[in-house]
Every structure is written in C-alpha cells, then in structure tokens.
Amino acid sequence: MSEQVEHLIRKEYAAGFHTAIESETLPPGLNEDVVRFISAKKDEPEWMLEWRLQAFRAWQEMEEPDWAHVNYPPVDYQSISYYSAPKSMDDRPKSLDEVDPELLATYEKLGIPLHEQEMLAGVAMDVVFDSVSVVTTFREKLSEAGVIFCSISEAIEKYPELVKKYLGSVVPQKDNYFAALNSAVFSDGSFVYIPKGVRCPMELSTYFRINEQNTGQFERTLIVAEEGSHVSYLEGCTAPMRDENQLHAAVVELVACDRAEIKYSTVQNWYPGDAEGKGGIYNFVTKRGVCHESAKISWTQVETGSAVTWKYPSCVLRGDNSVGEFYSVALTNNMQQADTGTKMIHIGKNTRSTIIAKGISAGRSDSSYRGLVRMNPGADGARNFTQCDSLLIGDQCGAHTFPYIESKNPSAVIEHEATTSKVSDDQMFLCAQRGLDPEKAVSMIVNGFCRDVFKELPMEFAVEAGKLLEVSLEGSVG
C-alpha cells in the first residue's frame, strides 16, 4: 500500500497552470512613492492616500511577528511588486461577454465556470483577478434590495462616508505587521453593505486568483451589516503553479450591528508548493469581526492551500448577547505549514462563542491550532465551547494545539476539548475489503472527520470543499 500512497501524495496540484494575460505591473520595491502611485492609479481621494501613508509609516516602524509555529525564509519586501492589473481592464466589462476569454477559460479549468455559478447558484460574483475586480454580476438584483456589493475601490469613490466610517474600525492600520502592510498598499477587494433590516437575497461570492508572478496580493474586504440585517459571504481561492513564493496579506473586516448576522465562508486552495516545499503562497491574513448587541458572526473556513498559513479569524463580542462562531478545517500535506485558529473576545454580557477546529496533517507537514478565548471583566454569564481535533495521516507530520484561555470574570464558563487521532490501517483495510480504492477511502475518512465543519458551509461550497480535500490529499496514508 505504501508505494501507492507515495504516488498519490505526490499527485501534482491540479489547478497549477499560468494564464498568459498581459499585466501592467509596477517594478518591485516599496516606498512612499509606491503608495502614492497605487492611490493615484486608482484615482483615490486625498483622505484615502493619507490613510495609506499613515499605515505605511507605521509599518516601517514595525517588526514581522515570529511567534507562529512556522518556518520560512525571510521575505524581502523590496523584491515584491505592489501593483498589477490585467491590461484589458482599462475598459471595465459590463457583462461576462466582455470578459477576456482567456480569463474565463482559467475558471473553466478550475471547474468553476462563471456562467454556471451565475445561473445555478444565483450567486453575484465579484471576481478578483490579480488586483482589480474584473466583473461584477447580479448587481442590479442586489441594488433592488438596497444591498451594496462592489469593489472596495468603487466604494471609496461612491460611498466615501461609509468607507471612512468603517475602514480600519475593526482592524486598525497598526493592528499588526501584515495588516499595516495591507492598509498601505491594498490593491482591491470587496465592499458589502446591507441596510437595516434587509436579508441579502443571495449568497455573495468572490473568487480570488493570484496570477501575476512576483505580485504580492493585498485584498481588503469590508462587510457592514446594519441593524437586524443578514448576509452570507463566500470567498474561494486557487492559484497557478510557480516557483517563487508569493506573499498574500489580506485584511477582512466585519461589522455586525445590533441583531445583525454575518456568515463568512472561505475555501482556500492556493498553490501549496511542490513536494519539496518549493514555491507556494505565504498566506498571512487578518480577519476580524465585531458583534454589537445580539449580533452574530460565523466564520467557516476550509484551508487546504498555501505553503505557509498564518490566519486567525476572530470575533470581538462587544454587545450583550452576541454570538461568535468559528468552524475550521485546515489540511496540510507535503511540506505545508499552517498556524491557524481564532480569537473570541468576550466583552458583553451573556456572550457566547463556539469553536470547532479540525486539523489534518499528511506528508511532512505541520499544522497548528492557536486559539484565544478571553472573558473580559464585564462578560457576565459568557460561555465558550472549544473543540479541537487533529487527524494525522502517516508518521512524518505534526499537529499542535496552542489554546490560550484568559478569564477575568468568575461567572464565565469555558469548555475545551481536544483529540488527536490517526487514519488507521484497520480503517483503510475495512474500506479496501469493501471494494474502495485507497484514494476514495482516505477522502471519505477525512470528509467524515470534517463533517461538523462542512455542515456549516453553504451547500454549493460544501461540495467544492469535499472536492478540494480529495485533490489535496487523495489517498495519503502511511
């Protein structure tokens, strides 16, 4: 069996290809002029440029964090280009027909044909190809409901008051090294605004794709759900194969006003590097949401890609009775490293949070769960439940759990459960004896392990997540 397994583990990244679309790219390097260039290129108002420059100056004073359980060669921030846009983008396409056919073909290869997505799922797509939003659909239907779903660049232009009010309100410019970098040079991203009492009529979805060589990608996403509103947002990623490490430092900010509910789902499948760990994306992401009274934020993530992942989607439970949830599957194979988890900051009374984290390690990879649950002095009656499960495939991988618990309120209740298990030879033998090939067996066992998380994903995403797991580790059993 082990030979077969070796072969399967070495299976090449199915989404690895490079699309030859001409790009307008800034030479590598980062200084104030670059920040000014980006801002000018996007015709941004003065206040936005100032905001970026503040962030840049703060970033220059900061040091890259090194506490995560990951190892990678130092990133040379001066060797990265900070702006790239597909050339054909000067004239923004109004519909899919106007989109560069090669771009569409790229999505076809990934098995996520836009047309199908659009029609079958009724999903509005804000597709980010490299750094500029290429096409936005279903805009009209959304605007009927009063929902704003556009690129952040467009929001800066059209809804400056909203952006001014909320940008940086959850993740300040100086929050951390990568957030500061993102604030200085963010290229584009999505902006969502759901007015008071509105239930967004469809799931909002963005597919990201890093395509330009040596281009760091700095997405900025801001979602604001006004009082009593409801929105479900889907983010999915995949990237072409390449040799040089690519830096990705995104920031996502969620604001859930009183009684609002935001569900944010991610399927992340960036190029993880080859079997020896060469290439692959560095994914250093800051995601955080703030919940006001009786509001709810639910993060669900399926992380299968990237060479190095550093990511902790968090909830600040500010308002009384607010709810935070984090459901995560992080899968690492070959030489991948992931340090991911969440932070639940309980400030308001009777706030509740649930954390279900599933880590799967195969090959020589290393996967860590790092989570913080903090009960502030005012968090009377607050509750947290955490469950951390690790599944090991083979005997050369690692799984680690770093739970941090800080309780400053005696009435708060915190529960933590953790398990570590292996895909056993006995399970594999049972499956084989019932006629299943090893690929199918592992994918089924792993999917079973992840079931508690997958059931939190929107239907269409759950299917895709299952497929991703299959591609990422088909049959890898030792």
Binding site: F429, Q433, R434, N447, G448
Partner: protein, 249 residues
Amino acid sequence: MLRIDNLHASVEDKQILKGLSLEVKPGEVHAIMGPNGAGKSTLGNVLSGRDGYEVGEGVVEFNGKNLLELEVEERAREGLFLAFQYPVEIPGVSNMEFLKVSVDAVRKHKGLPELSSVEFMKLARATSQKVKLDQAFLKRGVNEGFSGGEKKRNEILQMMLLEPSLCILDETDSGLDIDALQTVADGVNAMRNEDRSFIVVTHYQRLLDYIVPDYVHVLADGKIVKSGDKSLAKELEAKGYGWLEGGVA
C-alpha cells in the same frame, strides 16, 4: 470457487500457516475450527490480502484467478467478503454513505450501473430490517458507538448488500448473545444458495448449530489436520482439540 494449495504465510517472520490446503466449491459451507493461535484469523486476513501478512509458498485460486496477485479492493470486487471479528469505527462517515460507495464500487466492477440514491436507500432499509438493525444505524457513523452485537449485524448487512460469492466469517460469533447469534445465522442462511460459498471460522461449536456446515476442518499449527462433516464439530466439543494436536506432532 476457491482452491488453496499448500499455503504458507508469516507475520513478522513468524510462520503461521504451514502448508494449508482447502477446496471450496460453489454453494458449500466450510467451517474452520481450531485452538487459539492455530492461524484461523490469519487465513481470513491472507485471503483478503491484508497488509503485514507475507505469503511464502502456495497457490490460491479464486474463480479461476490468482487471488494472491490482486489488491485488497480487487479481491473484494471479485466477490470475496470478510466479516470482521472486530469491526472498526469510521467516525463521521455515515453508514449509509459507506454502504453506498461500497456497493457502487462492486457494481461498477461487475459492469452494473450505480443504484440511484433513492433505490439504494430503499434496499438498505429493507436489508437492515432483515438483520434487525434499526434504521437509525444507517445514519450514524460507521460502527460509531455500536455495541458488539450491532457491529456484527452491521457486518451481515454489508454482506447482504454486497452479494459476494465467497463469504469469510472470522469468529463472527465471538461476543454475541444467543439472540444476536440467531440473527446473524439467519442472515447467513438466507444468503445460502448454490452459487455462494462460506468459510465460517469459529472457535466454538455453538455457531454451527445455527449455520450448519457441509464440512468441518480442524486447523492446528498452520495446517488442516482433520476434515469431516458436521459431526466432527460435536466430537471436538466433547473431546477438545488436544487429541488432534497430539496426533499431528
């Protein structure tokens, strides 16, 4: 159906099977009895191709094919089924899903179309009734939190759905109370027909009151030392295994 000739097998360099020969014809039920450590479970594991068993000499022919050359899953698809002594749990994978993918894999091999989900669910529900396993168990994880008896019934459920041509029951009776034993035996008896064969591995004669074998073989020290009809089982119950082991030495 199955022809085993002079089979030698070892586990971690320890010789377990030392020249076992056995022929099973279609429709026959063979019971393999023997003392602990005789190699009874090894036989089932070697025939199904489990990792860790090294086959030395010997030939095993199954439906005209060289069984030893096939992968575990290929043997299963060819119609060889092993009911486990200790069925393992697969948490989170629903029994129904597991049964469906198994049946699909076997049907595909036979050139049959996949059953639709609806067809399959009907079939699975009806079959679970036959083995007196509540339908709720179809929705639960494979063997997850099942009692010993429920696990064994689940094995028989799988056997019925997969319709194998050769069923090997590895001490399926161990840990079963009389009611569960009866249910398991009823399942097996219902499946007996002129094309399907069974190898029933057991330590005790008790099971053979319910599943009446055509032949009884005594396995001791890695080979079959005595064969007979069902009356041999009774004799073994009365005399134990000692007289036979002494005889071979």
